[in-house]
């Protein structure tokens, strides 16, 4: 079991018909048991990378370069082989929790289902374990567990998703924008839940536009803009003493640090450097 769980080098994603590069050549690696956060604003390509990793990239997009997941390179694998990894080795937490849950099935059953079919537990046993998983996340399994997804709030549905993540044997969890659309206090509890995942021995790759989440999760981070990684390294180092002007601008732009807009010259200089994938059309298209 080698130290590096995931090793990506010069992965690039482009749209098939007109070959527009959406993600330039990106390289980073994730160590087992250590969280990694991909930071970037809308249209920087971070969600595309998450989809490429887990093999759910849209049909009209193509990925090149190498994604070594615990050894083998996933880029060449067929859909069927990629699917074997789902739930068993890796797991993608989607953005909208309520839409990701089956509207006509009680939430506790959607958790116990994984225990039954992936961990081979008996139905009664699986239900009991699912109940404990849900109550560990601060919900009452008897009352909330029996509800349907539409009866639960956004935050509660998200906890069900995390319970499912814990239920799966997968060791590598990709969380796509876990704090999107959440209030300040709900955001803190969501981050605590992610930390809970890491403590349970899962390796977490978090995709977010929220700097505070990166700081709280720790581990390594990579800052992306216009489909390229502009800076990466340990969370404290990058956030406290950023090297790249864009990262500095991004940090100063958050309300806690005075909310200074990123100076125009910083953005324009980066755009000229990667004119093939200027952020202009990407910002509009996402």
């Amino acid at each position: 079991m080698n130290e590096i769980l995931l090793n990506i080098n010069n992965l690039s994603i482009s749209s098939m018909p007109e070959h527009k590069t959406l993600v330039g050549s990106v390289s980073f690696s994730v160590r087992r048991g250590e969280p990694f956060t991909l930071i970037g604003e809308t249209g920087c390509g971070k969600t595309l990378i998450a989809q490429a990793l887990t093999g759910v990239l849209a049909k009209d997009l193509s990925a090149t370069g190498s994604i070594e997941f615990d050894g083998p390179n996933l880029v060449g694998l067929s859909g069927k082989e990629r699917r074997k990894l789902w739930g068993r080795r890796m797991f993608l937490l989607p953005q909208e929790p309520r839409l990701a849950l089956n509207p006509t099935m009680r939430v506790i059953k959607q958790v116990s289902e994984v225990l039954r079919y992936l961990r081979g537990q008996q139905p009664k046993n699986a239900l009991k374990n699912a109940g404990t998983l849900i109550s560990d996340l601060g919900m009452s399994s008897s009352r909330d567990g029996r509800h349907y997804p539409f009866r639960l709030s956004g935050g509660m549905n998200q906890r069900i998703l995390l319970a499912i993540a814990l239920a799966t044997p997968a060791e590598f969890i990709v969380a796509d924008e876990p704090t999107k659309g959440l209030d300040a206090d709900l955001r803190d509890s969501a981050v605590r839940l992610l930390q809970n995942l890491v403590e349970q021995g899962k390796t977490l790759l978090c995709i977010t536009h929220d700097l505070a989440v990166a700081r709280d999760l720790g581990g390594n981070i990579a800052v992306m803009y216009g489909g390229y990684i502009v800076e990466s390294g340990p969370a404290e180092k990058v956030l406290d003493s950023p090297v790249h002007p864009y990262t500095q601008g991004l940090i100063k732009a958050s309300p806690e640090n005075g909310m200074e807009p990123i100076p125009e010259h910083v953005l324009s200089s980066m755009k000229t450097a990667w004119n093939s994938s200027g952020s202009r059309q990407m910002e509009a298209c996402l």
Partner: protein
């Protein structure tokens, strides 16, 4: 449970409203329009040759047609609520018995048609749903539009031409043996199947494209487990709603098919009684068809409530 009570209340209200509208409509329309009802009935009973002034007057008094319209109307409404629908002006039979006899035949025909339509539509729809966009899917789209475009009676005629006349397999019309049931039921069934197969296909395509379906795959479940556990139940809700609505619209087709195949159902009864201006039968049959229609709509709503928890709960955050 509040939701179910509310549904029952609204449909009960519809039932009463439909009943009243049918009764009053046929009453008002007949009496206000041309022709003297008593004369029409005399002709219907004894043929034009024997009808003379005295006979018409005798019928008018006998059937109390001379009383003011308002009294006749209230008398009928009063009876309707006590389920005494009066007697047919033409054959003097009790309307209730007439209705029951004809209703049973329509029931047999409708059930047979529903079964045939399901037998055709479900496999066809499911296949198109699982392999969307393929050549089979496009062709069956056109075929189903064609079948929908062809009126019931034309399908019936084509079947008669093919099966009864050319191949001599089946009797043309009438109601004696079960073999007589095949043609009318098939005619109705094909018409229904055309549309429901498309609904089944779209329902499956929508469900398999939904985010929760993709997520179920991501959980590591095998495709069969995902289809059974998550697909079927969610796809069945729109299908059952449509099939329910379709049973309601079945009544429209029944009238036409029963006339074409001389099938002694409720549709044929109401048509003949309208042409013979036999008001009590028209009112009775209209009332029954209206209430059947409402009953089917109500049961469809209830089935949907049971199947779709989201509708069962008014507080649901859509």
């Amino acid at each position: 449970m509040g939701e179910i009570a509310r549904i029952l209340r609204t449909h009960l209200f519809h039932g009463v409203a439909v009943g009243l509208v049918v009764a009053s409509l046929s009453f008002v329309v007949v009496n206000l329009t041309r022709g003297d009802t008593a004369l029409e009935i005399a002709i219907a009973r004894h043929g034009t040759a024997l009808t003379n002034e005295a006979l018409v007057e005798q019928i008018r008094i006998e059937e109390k047609l001379d009383q003011s319209l308002w009294i006749q109307y209230t008398r009928w409404i009063g009876h309707a609520f006590t389920f005494d629908l009066g007697r047919s002006l033409v054959s003097k039979e009790k309307v209730a018995d007439l209705l029951w006899y004809h209703f049973r035949h329509t029931l047999v025909l409708s059930v047979a048609a529903m079964l045939i339509s399901l037998v055709i539509a479900l496999p066809w729809g499911i296949f198109c749903g699982i392999f969307p966009g393929g050549s089979f899917d496009n062709i069956s789209g056109l075929v189903s539009s064609a079948l929908v475009a062809v009126p019931h009676f034309v399908t019936g005629i084509l079947l008669i031409l093919a099966l009864s006349i050319k191949l001599q397999w089946l009797p043309v019309a009438g109601f004696f043996t079960s073999r007589h049931l095949i043609l009318p039921a098939a005619t109705l069934g094909i018409g229904l199947a055309a549309f429901s197969s498309r609904v089944v296909a779209t329902a499956i395509v929508d469900v398999r494209g939904a985010l929760f379906y993709q997520f179920a795959r991501m959980k590591g479940l095998a495709e069969a487990r995902v289809l059974l556990g998550h697909g079927i139940k969610n796809a069945s809700i729109p299908v059952i709603t449509f099939i329910g609505l379709q049973t309601a619209h079945l009544l429209d087709g029944v009238v036409v098919v029963e006339t074409l195949f001389a099938w002694p159902g409720i549709g044929k009864l109401i048509l003949d009684s309208i042409l013979a201006r036999d008001i009590p039968v028209v009112q009775g049959a209209g009332l029954l068809i209206g209430l059947m229609y409402v009953a089917v709509n109500a049961s469809v709503d209830l089935i949907c409530i049971v199947l779709d928890p989201c509708r069962r709960d008014p507080e649901a955050i859509r």
